[in-house]
């Protein structure tokens, strides 16, 4: 099976057909009456030193994907390979060892730090667990880590409540860095922060990446931050990756009607420049009962949308070099016109790029 890969480099992380279904339980006996398909067959690669952004609206499954890769949530099925290691087959001790190399920075800097532990103890915990340093050496390492993330070393004795949101997020980053990982899942690391502080943390993440060759899976809903930080972007909708492309390409020529609408909705920070907007009708359907065929078809504005879209599950396929999308109406597609007609299709595929998608402010 072909999957979206980054150039020819050997991927650091590769994810194949990852799914996570949550059972819906009813009644006193907890009878399972259905499944919420939070992540439903997601595949991608992350190269060493690369930032892959995972974007989408709330409930699209982007955070669940990030957590399933680290097995903070157990995936229902699929494969995750990190540097040649099959992550899903590891037992407790082996997994703990691997977590030295895969870390996570959480969204909420208020609930992700233990309020009863000093900053120093929080950063030091990883060093102790993984036996990386002890005693005076560990103290020195903690001070060094705090300095690296832009905090004063003497803060080590203070407690989380004494810090602002931005400072706490720096502590979270120092904690992740303490075990010298090569890959970090950044789960909305700046969305709880004010604009000016957000910029400080984004710059810090970029500096650390440059200095240490870190790879990031950057989960976010803010498309302007993503454009700034990502090398490639994967767009998720209802548990599926619907488009994956290098960042410039995705922002300039989004192929999926959903991506086009998402980009057009970002407010333009210049008065007078009103972006033409593709307003999506209605709300995101429930992942407990996703639409048949293409999950986006009930809200899609592609002019060639027809009955085939409700029948055929669109494969994620390469529309242009490195540019993957799941749409049977955007040529080229491996789903032939005959197959589409057999599924009730009446409108042949045609390339569609609405003005709103092209109308960029710069």
């Amino acid at each position: 099976m072909t999957v979206p890969a980054h150039d020819a480099t050997r991927p650091l992380l590769s994810v194949r057909d990852l799914t996570r279904h949550f059972p819906i339980k009813r009644g006193v006996f907890g009878r399972v009456t259905g499944q919420v398909r939070a992540v439903d067959g997601v595949s991608f690669d992350v190269a060493p030193g690369e930032t892959l952004a995972l974007v989408g609206e709330s409930g699209c499954g982007k955070s669940t994907t990030g957590r399933a890769i680290l097995r903070l949530i157990e995936p229902t099925s699929g494969a995750v390979t990190f540097d040649g290691i099959d992550v899903l087959s590891l037992d407790g001790a082996e997994l703990r060892k691997l977590r030295r190399r895969m870390q996570i920075v959480f969204q909420d800097p208020f609930s992700s730090l233990n309020p009863r532990m000093s900053i120093g103890a929080i950063v030091r915990e990883g060093l102790t667990i993984h036996r990386l340093a002890e005693g005076g050496a560990a103290d020195a390492r903690v001070r060094q880590l705090l300095e690296e993330v832009g905090l004063r070393p003497e803060y080590a004795t203070r407690y989380p409540h004494e810090f602002s949101g931005g400072q706490r997020q720096r502590v979270g980053i120092a904690r992740a860095l303490s075990v010298e990982p090569s890959f970090i899942v950044c789960d909305e690391p700046v969305s709880a922060l004010d604009v000016s502080v957000q910029a400080q943390v984004v710059n810090l993440l970029q500096d650390l990446q440059r200095d240490r060759g870190l790879a990031y899976l950057f989960i976010a809903h803010d498309l302007s931050i993503v454009e700034h930080i990502a090398d490639r972007v994967a767009v998720m909708y209802l548990g599926h990756i619907v488009e994956l492309a290098p960042v410039e390409r995705l922002y300039r020529e989004p192929v999926m009607p959903y991506t086009q609408a998402l980009l057009s909705a970002v407010p333009a920070p210049e008065p007078g420049v009103k972006r033409e907007r593709i307003l999506l009708a209605g709300d995101v359907p429930s992942p407990a009962n996703p639409p048949s065929g293409c999950v986006f078809h009930p809200r899609c504005q592609h002019p060639a949308r027809d009955a085939a879209c409700a029948k055929i599950v669109p494969p994620l396929e390469e529309k242009a070099p490195g540019h993957w999308a799941a749409c049977i109406k955007q040529p080229p597609t491996s789903v032939s016109w005959e197959q589409q007609q057999a599924a009730g299709g009446t409108k042949p595929p045609e390339f569609f790029l609405p003005r709103a998608a092209l109308h960029r402010s710069a």
């Binding site: 709330s58 910029a199 302007s224």
Partner: protein
Amino acid sequence: MTTPLLEIENLHTYFYTDNGVARAVDGVSFSVGVGETVGVVGESGCGKSVTALSILRLVRPPGRIEPGSVMRFEGRDLLGLEEREMQHVRGNRIAMVFQEPMTALNPVFTVGDQIGEVARIHANASKREAWAKAIEMLKLVGIPAPEQRAGEYPHQLSGGMRQRVVIAMALVMNPALIIADEPTTALDVTIQAQILELLADLTRRLGTSVLLITHDLGVVAENCTRVIVMYAGEVVEEASTVDLFARAHHPYTEGLLGAMPRVGGEKDRLATIPGTVPAPTDWPKGCRFRDRCPYSWERCAAEHPPLYQIAGGHTSRCHLADEPERRQHPHPPLAAQRGASAA
């Protein structure tokens, strides 16, 4: 500018806490014209939400609106009104749309009951009339199948739908002013676009004024005619939206604009504002932005800057207005010089 509907002068709202007096709103003045949409921007803790609560007189102890503050609305002095008269103003003439629609709605009543309640309280409508009004309002805010939706509970609706319900509640009595406090912050971008479009369309049709409180300059750029920038309990800059984006004067505004990543913008490093907002119990003397400012000099420590007139309708609380040549010589802000303490 059009005739003022709301005029705020020298508003001080203080909170008397165990850690001292928090001067959350500390001498704020501005006005909102009839039919105008005015944006209030600033980061958390700048006093923008407390300003909104003060206008509605919803500040609770230990908070207090200080004597000497003036708020005039439709020619009436809001601070001189009896509580009963104020209740009439709230909901009838000024309505509020909150950030989090789930907490603004009562989970145990249907949305139809909640919208209808406004009409029952403020217009003495009968139960039947109130229900009809609720359905009419749901239709107005673009909720499909309003007759059916009116009988549903808030948890049965999506975030975007709930915010539409909150807007419907705000519009029942056709108020002259809507105060919208971060109305789209909890929503996804595509839903945010729907809600802002709806708000703009309704206010255009009904002639309602809007005070739009937000931290998102993109939202301001698209929706407001005039912007007020707040920092540390004060207005630091006020201008037409076009002027603010083209010719920001205050270094804080400059910093905010620089720190904002733009879709389609340059991919350089983001500009940052080093340091953090000072504590409201302990605003520094002189200019409150001094420590984080790349231009500050001795005068900024000694003298609290007044709001200088920069151009017609454009004011800025910065001594650079007086000594513009200093802008040529930026230096690392004090907060950055103090070493690795910046957050």
